[in-house]
Symmetry: C2
Subunit: 267 residues, 2 copies
Amino acid sequence: MINMCKITTKILEGDSLKILKQLSDDSIDLIVTSPPYADNRKKTYGGVSPNKYNEWFLPITSELKRVLKSKGSFILNIKEKVTNGERNTYVLELIIKMREQGWLWTEEFIWHKKNSFPGKWPNRFRDSWERLLQFNKEKKFEMYQDAVKVEVGNWAKNRLNNLSEKDKTRDNSKNGSGFGKNISNWIGREKVYPTNVLHLATECNNKNHSAAFPNALPEWFIKLFTKENDTRNSIGIEIIPEYIAEIKKKLKKQKKNIQKTINYEIA
Amino acid sequence: MINMCKITTKILEGDSLKILKQLSDDSIDLIVTSPPYADNRKKTYGGVSPNKYNEWFLPITSELKRVLKSKGSFILNIKEKVTNGERNTYVLELIIKMREQGWLWTEEFIWHKKNSFPGKWPNRFRDSWERLLQFNKEKKFEMYQDAVKVEVGNWAKNRLNNLSEKDKTRDNSKNGSGFGKNISNWIGREKVYPTNVLHLATECNNKNHSAAFPNALPEWFIKLFTKENDTRNSIGIEIIPEYIAEIKKKLKKQKKNIQKTINYEIA
DNA sequence: GTTCCGCATGAATCGATAG
DNA sequence: ACTATCGATTCATGCGGAA
């Protein structure tokens, strides 16, 4: 037993706005969501038209702000659809409106979808990216950058073989920016920090749910914004009964493995 | 002589808003610009603070709309900077305001900067992408998708996307030596359309101008939005005398090569 | 002509300190 | 309290000279 704490995964059933109202203030460390995009997924979630989207979603973001801890983060995966030949501006307006609610728009990560949906149109190419908007309640928030470090690029192998005298000391840039470098700092460094562009393929095996949201995406943000050895209790909110059954089936499968080391419960 | 038309490159000197007013309505096929980002380039272009940015830039976009042909495109390369720990919203507001001017916001391409600026901060990673906003006057516009097709497969895709000017001349010389063999390589190799994510490195050898705008970027849009065998006359507007001198020097070097096939003039 | 290797450079941002 | 300046930190690329 590495950790004797009890960890729970709660699946709450119903409309997210109503469910959220039952949760306490400042109780959640991280929120990751990919709401149904406007007018898409009509068959499953009813579909919200672009001009009603913010009217529908802003009350939810307001509740999310209430339940999020002050040092927590909210990641919103979204992409505006094309209406009438143009990219619709509702996402831009959503960001502006959320700031009026008191959210800070800290960053916009890009999810580069390496295997984007094929297709051809006369006036545009395949859409190969989505927004991952980071919102916070306060300027200082929890972030564990070391948890998502990546391998250093190939350049380092060759570059570091023969260091010149200049490489061994701090060399300040000529343009007066104060920017300087000491190449010898890289000796023995195997991992570096990533950038704000994530290269991930969409998952095609998610047959029974309409969101093509790869597991690696929330996983990356969970690593980045929550502490590794803390208990990571989680909550999921879902309105469609069939999906709830599917989720619970998957969770039960995993429970057996998890319980070998941790006291794990599905609620 | 492939083409007997006269092609001209005009370098107009002065403030772009004033210069634009001298150009005729509906006379330009394609506009590609990367205006100084808010508060950056203080040393060279004076710098406009984020809250004054749109006030400064919207009169220019209004003139750009007047001079653009009805089926032309306007590509705006821009990225908002961080102010007070947040991404500033002036670019979002610019898009909304430009639509009020009558522009259509057709698409947002992403420029993934492979060699983004280094740095480490407690609350964010390196910024590795910029916006390439496509605006149009009408829903139907000129677009030549076949001109930017890429080879199928990851190897080819990366190779083509990474092409620098140097790469291209090298490749050409290879073509010259092994002509028959290369042709056979092309046969049967399928070409596909690219996506709306461009992977390009910034160019660091641009010693006398601070813009890290790779040649490949405007080149890609010129191929995509203007017809290959048309005469591609061009206009550049620049306010700093030193840069004008630099541009003219570069153009004169190229003139000798170009004039072997085309009647080329610098104005 | 080609490959190898040294090296400068880049649309940055935060936090502390000074005015 | 608010603004201005300054130091610290960091990674990948393409050019140019050498082999």
